[in-house]
């Protein structure tokens, strides 16, 4: 995947979690999804369309998601609470919105959030492009940021230097 789609999500997760969830974020080495290990219990999903298409998924265990949602909402939010999915979806929305602001020169829209809640679930996605998992550690536990993006805008042809053979 184009590296320019990774760094914006690293910056966004840090900014959103430090500002709204009140936890520092330690970002690990990005890896291909196939190497990322077991499935999550809670996933906040945002789709992208326009000059770049794909999605970002914030995924958590139940325990971490509840702690993150509670810190964000400044209230106790268990997975059974009516605002639990809302809080996770809004965090995913902020991460996606902040990241897309850094896709310089690309016009991209984001979807409304979807939140999947269920122990050890999997989110199937397009196999047409690779999905990268950015492992993050917060003071509430692990959060994975999964990014699958591809540019829908053709890359401009590089000028051929004078005298070069094609």
């Amino acid at each position: 995947m184009d590296a320019r789609f990774i760094n914006p999500f690293v910056s966004a997760i840090r900014q959103v979690f430090e500002t709204m969830v009140h936890t520092p974020v330690r970002v690990g080495k990005p890896m291909l999804k196939s190497a990322a290990g077991h499935n999550p219990d809670v996933s906040g999903v945002i789709g992208f369309s326009g000059d770049a298409a794909g999605c970002v998924i914030l995924s958590f265990s139940f325990d971490v998601a509840a702690k993150v949602a509670s810190s964000f909402a400044a209230a106790t939010i268990t997975p059974e609470h009516p605002d639990f999915a809302d809080a996770i979806g809004e965090l995913a929305n902020m991460v996606a919105g902040n990241a897309k602001a850094e896709f310089h020169g690309l016009s991209v829209s984001i979807s409304l959030p979807s939140v999947i809640v269920g122990r050890d679930h999997a989110v199937s996605q397009s196999r047409n492009f690779p999905h990268i998992v950015i492992p993050c550690e917060t003071c509430f536990g692990a959060v994975n940021v999964e990014v699958g993006m591809k540019s829908e805008r053709p890359q401009p042809a590089r000028p051929v230097p004078a005298g070069a053979t094609p």
């Binding site: 909402a73 400044a74 809302d86 902020m94 919105g97 602001a101 409304l112």
Partner: protein, 121 residues
């Protein structure tokens, strides 16, 4: 002063309501999309609107266009994840008075609200 909060996230509305309370504004009404916002505007006659951009049924920028057809003076603060310069310009051109990018601190949101209120007075 009555404030209309418009955001499809109840968590976000609760956070905004808490910030408003901290700066002395407790007369707050809420709407969870643009359609409900227009209905609440007519019913509640707020003095200020804090408005999200991306919402189901009707988005925030459409609300701004509709409001400005008949009301040129209602102060509107757009509070959104839409952080690109082009979006800010689009919102200002549509008639938004101030712009807050999510994520925000309580202090920064409170300051923007106070700044907008001070401009009205």
């Amino acid at each position: 002063m009555r404030v209309l909060l418009v955001d499809d996230s109840r968590t976000m509305r609760n956070i905004q309501r808490s910030v408003l309370k901290q700066i002395g504004h407790e007369d707050v009404v809420e709407a969870n999309d643009g359609v409900q916002a227009l209905a609440e505007l007519a019913r509640q006659r707020p003095d200020l609107m804090l408005l999200d951009w991306n919402m189901p049924n009707m988005d925030g920028i459409t609300v701004v266009h509709k409001v400005r057809e008949t009301d040129k003076t209602l102060p509107i603060i757009m509070c959104t994840t839409e952080a690109e310069k082009s979006r800010v310009i689009e919102a200002i051109k549509a008639g938004v008075n101030n712009f807050v990018v999510k994520p925000f601190t309580a202090e920064s949101l409170g300051a923007k609200i106070n700044e907008t209120i001070a401009r009205i007075k």
